[in-house]
C-alpha cells in the first residue's frame, strides 16, 4: 500500500522544481502514477510511505507537443493514448501507434506518460526502443539559484541500466524530442504472457522509408527491448539494409543478426529465438504500412530452411 505525508500538485516548472529541491529524501515525482501504485504492493516494494509525492500532471509547460524542423517535441505529460488518437502524432511518429496499442490498455494509456516510462528505465520498457530508433533526446531542467538551468541528453546516454538513468537528484525531465518521420511505415512487435496489460518479455520496433521504386530501402530504423539491461538500437542491421533492394534473402540475413545482442539474465535461448522472428516480422509489418508489396512470401519461408 502506498502512503505519503504530502501530495503536491504544482502548476509551473519553477514551482515544481522548488518543491522538488526542498522535498525530503525518498520523495517521488509522479506523472500518470500508474507504475508507482502497483509497485508499492506485496511482492514488490510492499507497504511504502513517501514523505511527499510531487505530481507533475498539471504543470502547464509539460503539456502537449510541437513539430518543427524535422523533430517532434513531446511534453512530459503526453500520454500513450495520444499516440493513438492524435492524427498529427500518428503521421509524424508512425511506429508509436503500434507501440502504444501494445502498451497496457486503453484506460492506463489515458494516464501513463511516455516520459514516465523512459525515466523508470525498465529493461522491458515499451517506449524506449521506439524513441532510440527516433534518435530521441531528453530535455532536463533544474534550479540554479532562482534561474532555470536546462540541458539535453541523448536517450542512449540517459538510460544507464535497469532503473538507472543520468537524471540528477534535483532535476525534472520536461520533454522528449525525437525525429519526425512522416512517410515512413512503422511497426512494433511484442511478446508477453497475455495481450493487454503485459510487460514485454521482448519487444522490437521498425520504421522504414521506401524509395519511389517501392523496392529499395531508403531509410530504416530498428531497435530492441527486453533483451538486456538496456534497450538497444540495431545500427548494424540498419547499415546492412539501407539503400538495398528488399528481398526475402536480405530479410532473413538481417533476422539472424540480433541474436548476439541478447544479454538478459533469464531465458536467453528463448529470447534469441524470439528476436530472430521479431526482426523479420517488424520489417514485414512496416513494409505493409509503407503500402509496398512484400517480398514473395514463399521465398521468405524457403529462406528459413
Amino acid at each position: 500500500m502506498l502512503t505519503c505525508d504530502k501530495y503536491h500538485m504544482p502548476t509551473s516548472i519553477p514551482e515544481a522544481l522548488a518543491i522538488w529541491q526542498d522535498a525530503a529524501e525518498g520523495s517521488r515525482l509522479v506523472a500518470g502514477a500508474t507504475d508507482i501504485l502497483p509497485w508499492a504492493r506485496e511482492g514488490r516494494a510492499g507497504d511504502v510511505n513517501l514523505p511527499a509525492m510531487i505530481d507533475l500532471s498539471r504543470v502547464a509547460e509539460l503539456q502537449g507537443y510541437k513539430v518543427a524542423n524535422g523533430r517532434v517535441h513531446l511534453g512530459a505529460n503526453v500520454v500513450y493514448q495520444d499516440f493513438l488518437t492524435d492524427e498529427t502524432l500518428r503521421q509524424h511518429l508512425p511506429c508509436m501507434p503500434f507501440c502504444s496499442i501494445w502498451f497496457a490498455d486503453d484506460q492506463i494509456r489515458a494516464q501513463a506518460t511516455l516520459v514516465g516510462n523512459l525515466v523508470n528505465a525498465s529493461p522491458a520498457a515499451d517506449g524506449t526502443p521506439p524513441m532510440l530508433a527516433l534518435n530521441a533526446e531528453l530535455e532536463i531542467v533544474r534550479l540554479d539559484g532562482k534561474a532555470l538551468k536546462r540541458r539535453t541528453i541523448a536517450l542512449s546516454d540517459f538510460v544507464k541500466g535497469p532503473g538507472k538513468t543520468d537524471l540528477q537528484p534535483d532535476e525534472i525531465v520536461t520533454a522528449v524530442i525525437c525525429d519526425s518521420l512522416p512517410g515512413y511505415g512503422g511497426s512494433f512487435q511484442k511478446v508477453g504472457q497475455r495481450r493487454s496489460l503485459v510487460i514485454s518479455s521482448a519487444c522490437a520496433v521498425a520504421c522504414i522509408k521506401m524509395a519511389e521504386d517501392d523496392e529499395t530501402v531508403e531509410d530504416i530504423r530498428l531497435a530492441l527491448g527486453g533483451v538486456g539491461p538496456v534497450p538497444v538500437r540495431l545500427d548494424d542491421i540498419e547499415m546492412l539494409l539501407r539503400g538495398k533492394r528488399i528481398t526475402a534473402d536480405l530479410i532473413t540475413q538481417a533476422s539472424a543478426m540480433p541474436a548476439g545482442r541478447v544479454a538478459s539474465r533469464t531465458r536467453q535461448e528463448y529470447r534469441r529465438t524470439v528476436v530472430k522472428g521479431f526482426i523479420e516480422a517488424a520489417i514485414l509489418d512496416a513494409l505493409i504500412e509503407c503500402g509496398v508489396p512484400l517480398p514473395n512470401a514463399a521465398e521468405v519461408e524457403n529462406a528459413h530452411v
Binding site: 501530495y7 504492493r41 506485496e42 500532471s57 493513438l84 490498455d105 486503453d106 484506460q107 496489460l197 519461408e301
Partner: protein, 627 residues
C-alpha cells in the same frame, strides 16, 4: 498526514470534501462517497473492476491518486442509469445475453463497453475486444459480454430494434430457451453489494498477520504494543478461541489462526481490528512474534518417506487420505495384454482467481448471536464448525451468504470467518475484513497438483484389458477438501471406459505448500487429463484413430463402472460423435494426415492474436503465409 480540500463533480453532483493524500480515487469513491458499484479486484490496474470516467475518459481508479481528481467530472457505474431511471442500452444488453454471472467484474465491464461505444459507435468486434482488453472476467469466457456489446452497438445505431433487448418468451419450458437472470439488473447497475461493499455503524477494519515461514514453531506472541496503539480495538490470536479449535471440510485440522506452529507461508497468526485499515496495518508491525523454523517438506514423495518432517501429529506418515479401488484381477488383465503402455503425468497448482477477493463482515447482534456475512460457499457447515470453535449453541451462530463474486470452489473453506467472529466478540463492534489480491492468492486453497502414474494393458484389437492408476496429490498444509477430491479423482480416474481389471490408488499428502482444496471438477480434471492423454498415446501406439480407440472401449448402456455401479444410459458415444464432427476430425490414426491440417482455420476457430484493429493497414499480399 495533511488532509486537503477536494472538489469535484460526481455523477452530476458537486462534491466538496476533505481527502487524505494517500487515498486513491477508488478509495474516495467507495469509502467516502459510498458508491460501491466501483469494485476493487486487484488494486494493481490489472482487472478493470474499478473503471470510471474522469472528464469523459475511462481510467482505472485504483491507479489514480485522488488528488488528481481535483476539479474533474467523475462518472461511475451508478451515474450511467441514475436511481429511478431505466437501464442504459449497454446494461440491458448485458442483461439480455446473460453477460453477468457472478457480477463482480460487470460494473467495470459495463463501463468499458460504454467507453468503447462512446469512443467509436461503429466499433467492430476486434476493436471491441481490444477496448475491453483491460477488464478481466473469470466466469463467462467473454463470449456473452462481446455479444452484448455488439447488440448494444446495433441498437444504439438503430440497426436493431430495441425489442431485441426484451426477454425471450420461455414458452412451455425454460429448458432450451434463453431466460434472463433475475439478479442481472442489480449487477449491471452496480447496485448489488458484495461483502466488501457492506458497511455498518461503528465498523472496525481488520488486517491479518501472516506467516513468512513454511514450517515454524510459534515460540511467543506479544500483542501488547499493538493493543496499545490508539485506534486499535483488539488483537486476536489462537489464544482467544473459547471452544474447540479446528475446521476443514472433512478433517478439522486447521486452527482459526496458527496456535503452536505455522505450516505454510501465508497462514494467519494474528489479526488486528482497528478504526481504519492503516491503523490496523501499523498495529501488525507492533506484534512481536518469535518463530523457530523447523524442517519443512514441499514435495509429496519426500513427504511420504520415512523420517520426513511430520506436519500434523495425528498423521505420522503425512497422509491425508488414501482411496483404493479394485475391480477384477489386475495381474490377469496385464497378462492378457498384447501391449502395456506406461506414462507419468504431472499437473500444477491453479489459483481460482475469482474477481472478488475474500471479504466478510461480522457482528454480535442484540441477542448475542454471532453473525458472519461472507461469500461462503458452504454456510451451513461453516455455522456448525464455528459454533464448536466459539463454544456457543448453534442458535447463537448465524451465517449469511453474501453475493459470491466468483467461487469455483475456492470459497468453500472457512479460512477467515472464524477470525472475524473472534474479533467482533472481543471488540463488541462490527468488524470487516477485505483481502487484497495478493493475500487471496497466498493464503487460500489451490487446485491439487498431482503426480499420476498410468499403466494400461491393451489387446492388438484395441480393447483395454487392465488399468493401474496411481495419483499422489499435494494437499498442502491442511486437509480442507482433499479427502473428497481424492475420492472423486479415484471414481473418475479411468474415464468413461469399460475396463474389466482396475487398480486405483489416490493419495492426498500433507506438505508445507499452500493448502489445496476444492476447485471446479474436484479432482476429475487431474485424472481426466491423464486418462485422455493416455488414450491418445495408446491409440497412436496401436495405429488406431483416437476416436475409434475410444469407441472400442467406451461404456455402453448397462455398463458396470469400476465402483460397481450399473449404468442405465450412457452418453459417451453421442459425445464422441459430436466432438468428432465439431472438430472436423480427419479420420485415421495420428500421423496419416497430409501436410495441411483441415481442422484449423475455419470460421469457428480462433484467429491469431493481433492488436490495432482501429488503425492498422490491410496487408497487400499474403502476409499470414509467412508464418
Amino acid at each position: 498526514m495533511s488532509e486537503f480540500e477536494l472538489e469535484m463533480t460526481v455523477n452530476g453532483k458537486p462534491i466538496h470534501r476533505r481527502a487524505k493524500p494517500h487515498q486513491r480515487l477508488l478509495d474516495f469513491i467507495r469509502d467516502d462517497l459510498n458508491l460501491t458499484g466501483t469494485k476493487e479486484g486487484c488494486g494493481a490496474g490489472e482487472c478493470g473492476t474499478c473503471s470510471v470516467f474522469v472528464d469523459g475518459k475511462l481510467i482505472k481508479s485504483c491507479l489514480m491518486p485522488v488528488a488528481k481528481a481535483q476539479g474533474v467530472q467523475i462518472e461511475t457505474i451508478e451515474g450511467l442509469a441514475p436511481h429511478g431511471s431505466d437501464l442504459t442500452t449497454v446494461q440491458k444488453a448485458f442483461h439480455k445475453t446473460g453477460a453477468s454471472q457472478c457480477g463482480y467484474c460487470i460494473p467495470g465491464m459495463v463501463m468499458a463497453a460504454t467507453s468503447a461505444l462512446r469512443e467509436n459507435p461503429d466499433a467492430g468486434i476486434e476493436e471491441i475486444k481490444e477496448r475491453l482488453g483491460g477488464n478481466i472476467c473469470r466466469c463467462t469466457g467473454y463470449t456473452k459480454i462481446f455479444e452484448a456489446v455488439e447488440i448494444a452497438r446495433d441498437v444504439i445505431a438503430g440497426k436493431l430494434s430495441s425489442t431485441v433487448l426484451d426477454a425471450d418468451g420461455a414458452g412451455k419450458s425454460y429448458i432450451g430457451n434463453n431466460v434472463r437472470r433475475l439478479d442481472a439488473p442489480s449487477k449491471v447497475a452496480g447496485k448489488l453489494r458484495y461483502a466488501g461493499d457492506m458497511v455498518m455503524p461503528g465498523m472496525l477494519h481488520m488486517q491479518v498477520l501472516r506467516s513468512p515461514h513454511a514450517h515454524a514453531l510459534v515460540k511467543s506472541i506479544n500483542t501488547s504494543a499493538a493493543e496499545a496503539l490508539p485506534g486499535v480495538a483488539c488483537v486476536v490470536t489462537a489464544a482467544d478461541v473459547p471452544g474447540e479449535d479446528g475446521f476443514g471440510v472433512f478433517v478439522h485440522d486447521q486452527p482459526v489462526m496458527a496456535d503452536d506452529r505455522v505450516r505454510y507461508v501465508g497462514e494467519a497468526v494474528a489479526a488486528v481490528a482497528a478504526d481504519d485499515v492503516l491503523t490496523a496495518k501499523r498495529a501488525l508491525e507492533l506484534i512481536e512474534l518469535e518463530y523457530e523454523e523447523i524442517p519443512a517438506v514441499f514435495d509429496v514423495e519426500e513427504a511420504m518417506k520415512k523420517g520426513a518432517p511430520v506436519i500434523h501429529d495425528y498423521a505420522a506418515g503425512n497422509l491425508v487420505k488414501h482411496i483404493p479401488i479394485r475391480k477384477g484381477d489386475i495381474e490377469k488383465g496385464f497378462a492378457e495384454a498384447d501391449l502395456i503402455v506406461e506414462q507419468a503425468y504431472d499437473t500444477q497448482p491453479v489459483e481460482h482467481a475469482y474477481l472478488e477477493p475474500e471479504a466478510g463482515i461480522a457482528f454480535v447482534d442484540h441477542d448475542d448471536v454471532v453473525t458472519v456475512i461472507s461469500p461462503s460457499q458452504n454456510i451451513t457447515h461453516h455455522r456448525h464448525m464455528l459454533a464448536k470453535i466459539i463454544n456457543k449453541p448453534i442458535n447463537k451462530v448465524r451465517f449469511i451468504m453474501s453475493p459470491v463474486g466468483g467461487g469455483f470452489g475456492g470459497k468453500e473453506d472457512m479460512i477467515y470467518q472464524g477470525i472475524l467472529a473472534l474479533a467482533t466478540m472481543k471488540a463488541g463492534q462490527p468488524v470487516r475484513l477485505v483481502f487484497t489480491r495478493e493475500e487471496s492468492i497466498i493464503s487460500t486453497a489451490k487446485r491439487h497438483p498431482a503426480q499420476i502414474k498410468y499403466k494400461m494393458g491393451i489387446k492388438n484389437d484395441g480393447r483395454i484389458t487392465a488399468v493401474s492408476f496411481e495419483m499422489i496429490s499435494d494437499g498442502g498444509a491442511y486437509g480442507l477438501s482433499t479427502e473428497g477430491v481424492m475420492r472423486k479423482a479415484a471414481i473418475l480416474s479411468c474415464g468413461p471406459y469399460d475396463i474389466p481389471n482396475v487398480q486405483i490408488d489416490t493419495y492426498g499428502v500433507y506438505t508445507n505448500n499452500t493448502p489445496s482444496g476444492a476447485f471446479r471438477t474436484f479432482g476429475a480434471m487431474q485424472s481426466q487429463f491423464a486418462t485422455e492423454s493416455h488414450m491418445d498415446i495408446c491409440a497412436e501406439k496401436l495405429g488406431l484413430d483416437p476416436f475409434e480407440f475410444r469407441r472400442i472401449n467406451m461404456m455402453r448402456d448397462g455398463a458396470v463402472t469400476h465402483t460397481m455401479q450399473t449404468l442405465g444410459s450412457v452418453s459417451i458415444g453421442r459425445v464422441l460423435d459430436a466432438a468428432e464432427k465439431a472438430s472436423r476430425w480427419e479420420k485415421g490414426p495420428v500421423g496419416v494426415r497430409g501436410s495441411e491440417r483441415k481442422d484449423v482455420g475455419g470460421d469457428d476457430t480462433r484467429p491469431p492474436c493481433t492488436l490495432g484493429a482501429r488503425f492498422r493497414k490491410e496487408e497487400k499480399n499474403g502476409r499470414q503465409e509467412v508464418a
